[in-house]
C-alpha cells in the first residue's frame, strides 16, 4: 500500500501548488485589476483615511483643506473649500471627493496632497508605523488678483450688451517663471456642492474656459503672425505693404475693420491699427509652413505643458469641422489664420503663453501652478523651478515686437488704457461671431511693464454686441496687471 500512499501525497502536493498559484494570482499578478474593480471600496476607504494636505495661494489664502469626520482612532477625512466665494477658485483647484473623483489641481497634484510616496519610502514608513499623511501645497495663483479678475469679468458680463448669459476668462502668467498667477473662468462653480451632488454632470460652471474653451482669437493672433514675420527675417517693423481694404486673400475679398482703408503702410503702423489686409498678406507671404512652425513654438497644436489634468485642457490650432486638428499639409486659408479667422480656435491659456513668451525675450517658460510643496514635517519636497518650454523667437524679435505692441497701447486700438502710468505692451482682438447681429468676441492680450515684463495676461469674453476688445477686455487686463504689479 506504500506506493499509492506516496502517490496520494504527491497528488495533495499538486493541490497545494494550485492553491499557491491562485493565491499569487490574486495577491500579486491580478492585484492591480482587482483594485480597479468598481465593487472594490478599499482604495476609496483607505484614501479617505489619509489627511489630505492643504492648498494655499501664493498670497497665503487657504483654498482647500480636510476635516476629520466620525472620530475614533482611524477617522475619515472630508475635503472642504473654505473660501468666502469658493466659485472664484473652483475651476483651477477642482475638487476631490471619494464618490465623485477628482479634477483640477486636486487631481494633477494628488500624489503630493495624498502623501503618495515611492515604494521604498512607504515600506520604511510601514516599518516605523508612520501613517500616510498628505503634503501641503502652495500654488502660484494670487488670490487677490484672481478675485479681482472674476469680479471684473462678472461686472463686464453684467454691464455689456449681448454678454449676459455668457462667460469669460482671464489668464495671467509670470513671463520669466511660467507661474500662472490668475486662471479665472466665469461662471465658476462651488466645489463644496460637489460633495452632495448625485450627478456631477448637472453642476453648472464645471467648464474651465481658461484651458478647455477654444475660441476665435481675432486680431490677438496678429502677435503670433508678427513674431513669425520678424523672426523669420522676411519682415522688419519698417516693411511696407498696402493697407487697402478689399484685397483678395485666399481668392476672397478681405475687408478691414469698419471698412477702413490705408495706403502703403509699415508693419509697426499695421499692428498699431490692427490692419487686417496687411497681416493677411504677411501670412500669405510667410506661408502655411512658417506660420505653423511658429504656432508650434508658441505651443499651438499640442496639449499645454501646464501641470494640470490633460483631459481638462484643449489644444489651440486650426480645427476641421469634425473637431480634429488640421496640419500644414491641409488646405488652409493661411492669410485669414494670420488675422485670427479661418477655423482657428485658441484657449485663453494659449494666448497668455504667447504674450508671456514675447515678454520673456522670446523664450516660452513652461506654465505651472506649483509654487511649493511641503511634506507633513514641513520639509520642502518640490519648488517652482522655471523650465524653458521653447525658444520661440530671438531676443531682437521680442524687443521689436514689444515696441510695436507698446505703440498699440499708446496710440493704437488700445489707446486710453493705462497700467499705473507705465509703458506696457498689448494687442486687442475682436472676433466676429455673427456679423449681421453685430455679435463679437472681445479679447485683450498684453504684458507690463514693457521695459521689464513682470506679468502677461490674456482676457476673453465669450460674447458682446457691437463692442471691441479694447473697450471691454482691455480694462479687465489692465486692472489685473495693476493688481499683480502692486502686490
Amino acid at each position: 500500500m506504500n506506493v499509492p500512499i506516496a502517490r496520494l501525497y504527491t497528488f495533495l502536493l499538486i493541490l497545494f501548488a494550485i492553491l499557491v498559484y491562485f493565491t499569487s494570482k490574486w495577491a500579486v499578478f491580478d492585484a492591480e485589476s482587482l483594485e480597479d474593480k468598481v465593487q472594490n471600496r478599499r482604495p476609496l476607504i483607505e484614501e479617505q483615511q489619509v489627511p489630505r494636505g492643504t492648498i494655499t495661494t501664493s498670497d497665503g489664502v487657504l483654498v482647500a483643506e480636510s476635516h476629520p469626520q466620525g472620530g475614533g482612532p482611524r477617522p475619515v477625512y472630508v475635503r472642504t473649500y473654505p473660501e468666502d466665494d469658493p466659485t472664484v477658485f473652483g475651476n483651477p483647484i477642482g475638487y476631490s471627493f471619494v464618490e465623485q473623483g477628482r479634477t483640477g489641481i486636486e487631481q494633477s497634484e494628488n500624489d503630493i496632497l495624498a502623501g503618495e510616496q515611492n515604494e521604498f519610502a512607504s515600506i520604511l514608513d510601514q516599518i516605523r508605523d508612520v501613517p500616510q499623511v498628505g503634503g501641503d501645497l502652495t500654488i502660484t495663483l494670487d488670490a487677490q488678483a484672481q478675485r479681482l479678475a472674476v469680479q471684473q469679468l462678472q461686472s463686464a458680463i453684467a454691464s455689456t450688451a449681448g454678454a449676459a448669459g455668457f462667460g469669460g476668462s482671464v489668464v495671467a502668467i509670470e513671463p520669466d517663471t511660467g507661474a500662472v498667477r490668475v486662471a479665472a473662468s466665469v461662471p465658476g462653480f462651488d466645489p463644496n456642492q460637489i460633495a452632495d451632488a448625485t450627478s456631477v454632470a448637472d453642476i453648472k460652471g464645471l467648464f474651465f474656459r481658461a484651458t478647455q474653451g477654444t475660441y476665435q482669437p481675432g486680431s490677438t493672433m496678429k502677435v503670433v503672425t508678427a513674431a513669425a514675420a520678424l523672426d523669420s527675417g522676411e519682415f522688419t517693423p519698417d516693411s511696407m505693404l498696402s493697407g487697402r481694404t478689399g484685397i483678395e486673400i485666399g481668392g476672397v475679398r478681405l475687408e478691414n475693420a469698419g471698412g477702413e482703408t490705408f495706403g502703403e503702410i509699415d508693419f509697426d503702423f499695421a499692428l498699431t491699427h490692427s490692419v487686417n489686409t496687411y497681416f493677411a498678406q504677411v501670412g500669405e507671404q510667410l506661408g502655411t509652413e512658417t506660420m505653423f512652425e511658429y504656432m508650434d513654438r508658441f505651443g499651438f497644436n499640442a496639449i499645454p505643458e501646464l501641470d494640470f489634468p490633460s483631459d481638462q485642457m484643449d489644444e489651440s490650432g486650426v480645427y476641421d469641422s469634425d473637431g480634429s486638428l488640421l496640419d500644414e499639409s491641409d488646405a488652409i486659408d493661411i492669410g485669414r489664420v494670420a488675422i485670427g479667422q479661418e477655423r482657428l480656435l485658441v484657449t485663453p491659456l494659449q494666448m497668455a503663453e504667447v504674450v508671456a513668451a514675447i515678454g520673456n525675450d522670446g523664450t516660452l517658460m513652461q506654465p505651472t501652478f506649483l509654487q511649493e510643496a511641503k511634506d507633513p514635517d514641513g520639509r520642502t519636497i518640490e519648488k517652482l523651478d522655471p523650465d524653458e518650454q521653447s525658444d520661440v523667437v530671438s531676443e531682437e524679435t521680442a524687443s521689436q515686437l514689444t515696441e510695436m505692441m507698446t505703440h498699440v497701447t499708446e496710440e493704437g486700438t488700445a489707446a486710453g488704457l493705462t497700467v499705473g502710468g507705465i509703458a506696457f505692451a498689448g494687442k486687442t482682438g475682436t472676433a466676429e461671431i455673427d456679423v449681421e447681429a453685430g455679435l463679437n468676441r472681445p479679447w485683450f492680450i498684453g504684458f507690463a511693464p514693457a521695459a521689464d515684463p513682470q506679468i502677461a495676461v490674456a482676457v476673453m469674453l465669450e460674447r458682446c454686441q457691437g463692442c471691441f476688445g479694447g473697450e471691454v477686455a482691455g480694462p479687465i487686463a489692465t486692472q489685473v496687471m495693476e493688481s499683480l504689479l502692486s502686490g
Binding site: N2, L8, L19, A31, Q39, G70, G72, Q126
Partner: protein, 457 residues
Amino acid sequence: MSARNRELFALIPVALLLIGGFAAVFIARSDQIGDLSLIYGAYFFALCLAAHAFLRFRLPYADPYLFPLCALLAAFGLVMIYRIDDGFALNQASVFVLGLIAFCGTILLLRDYSVLERYRYLIALGGIVLLMAPRLPGIGAQANGAYLGLSIGPINFQPSELAKIAIVIFLASYLAERRELLSVAARRFVGLTIPPLKHFGPLLLVWGAAMVLLVFTRDLGSSIMFFGAFLAMLYVATNRFSYVLIGLGMFLLGSYLLGSSIEHVQERFDIWMDPFAPKSPEGAGQVQQSLFAQADGGLFGTGLGDSLLKLPGPFFPESCQTGFPECGSILPAPHTDFIYAVIVSELGLFGACGVILCYALIAARGFKTAIMVPDGFSKLLAAGLTTVFVLQAFVIIGGVTKVIPLTGVTLPFISFGGSSVIANMVLVALLLQISDRARRPRAGSSPVTGTEEGLAL
C-alpha cells in the same frame, strides 16, 4: 537525539511566532495599552509544553514533528484571531484548553486504538447521526443556506467536524478487511480496470451517503471532504486508479444533478464561475471581498494588524447589533471562513505560502506514518486521517481563492471555532498514536526501519 527532544526543539519556532506575532499586533494597535497579548502567548506556550510533557510520558516514540507543526498553526491562528478581535482570541485560547483535554483524553482512554476496528459499525452510525443532526428540528441551525451547526442551549457545535473522524475510522477498518476482495483482477474496458460489479456495493453506498449528506445538509464542503477521503482510502487500499475515476465521475454527476436543484449549491457554483457577473447572487460579495483583501496583500502583505478590516467611522453600519467581526467588517467572517484572506492581506503571498507549507509538512508526517506502520488498518487510518485533514484545508483555502466553489468549512487549527479545534486535536492524537506504534522499536530491529523509500522528505 531522541524523538521527544527533537519535538521540544521544534517547539522553539512556535514560541518565536507567538512572541513576534503578538508583538506585531500589539505595535500595530499602539492606541490600546495592555500586556494581555504576552499573557496569551505565555499561556498558550505553557499548554504546548504541558502537552509535550504528556507525549514524552505516554507516546515516547511518536512522530516528533506532528505536534509542533500543529502547535505552530494553532499559535498562528491565535495571533490572527487576536488581531481580528481580542475577545475572540481569549475565547479561542480557552478552546485550546478543551482541545488539549480531548487530545490527552484520547491518548489516555484509547490505549490501543485497534479496538476501534471492533466498534466500526457503531462508529459509522454515530458519524451518520452526527452528520444528520443539524437537520433535526429543535437543535439544528442553518447558516448561509447550509445546515452545519447544532445549537443546544448556549453551546454551538459543528458535528461534521467529529463525524469526519468517525467515518474515516469506519472506512479504514472496512477497507482493511475487504481490500483483498476489492483488488482482485477484474475486467478491462477501454483501458480501464473495471472492478467486479458486486464490489460496487460499498462504493455506491458511500456515494449515496455523500449525496444524501449534500441534499440534507446542503453542505458541499463536507461532502467533498468525506468523499475525497473515501476515494483516497479506496485507492490506497486497492491501488486501482479506476475506482477513483469512477468515484469521481459519480460524485461530479451526482453533485451536478443535485446541485442544480438545490438553489444554495447552484448559487455557490454561479458565484464561483464569475463572482463579478453583473447579476451575480447576493453571496458574490463575499468572494469579491475575499479577492480584494488578497489583492491588498501583495508579496509581503500590509503587516499584522494593518490591513483594512473593520469599517472605519461613517462606513461602520449603524444597524450592526452583534458587533465586529460578525458585522461591520469589510471582509465577511474574517475569523472563520475567510481567515485565509486576512492572512494573505496582512502577510502577503509569502505568509500564505508559509501556512500552506505547514499543511504540506503535516501531510508529509502523516503519510510517512502511514508508510512506516506495518498493519493495513493503521496504514489506512493514518492515510485517511491525514487526507481528511489536508482536504479540509484545501476545500476552504480553495474556496477563498476561487479554485473551487466556496463552502463553509474551517481552516484547521487556524479558524476560530471550538468544534474544529477539538476534533482536529483528537485527529492528531490518533495520528500520534499510530506513529508511536510505527516507530516503537521492536525486538531486534532499530526504531526507524528502511520503510521510508516511498517518500522523499
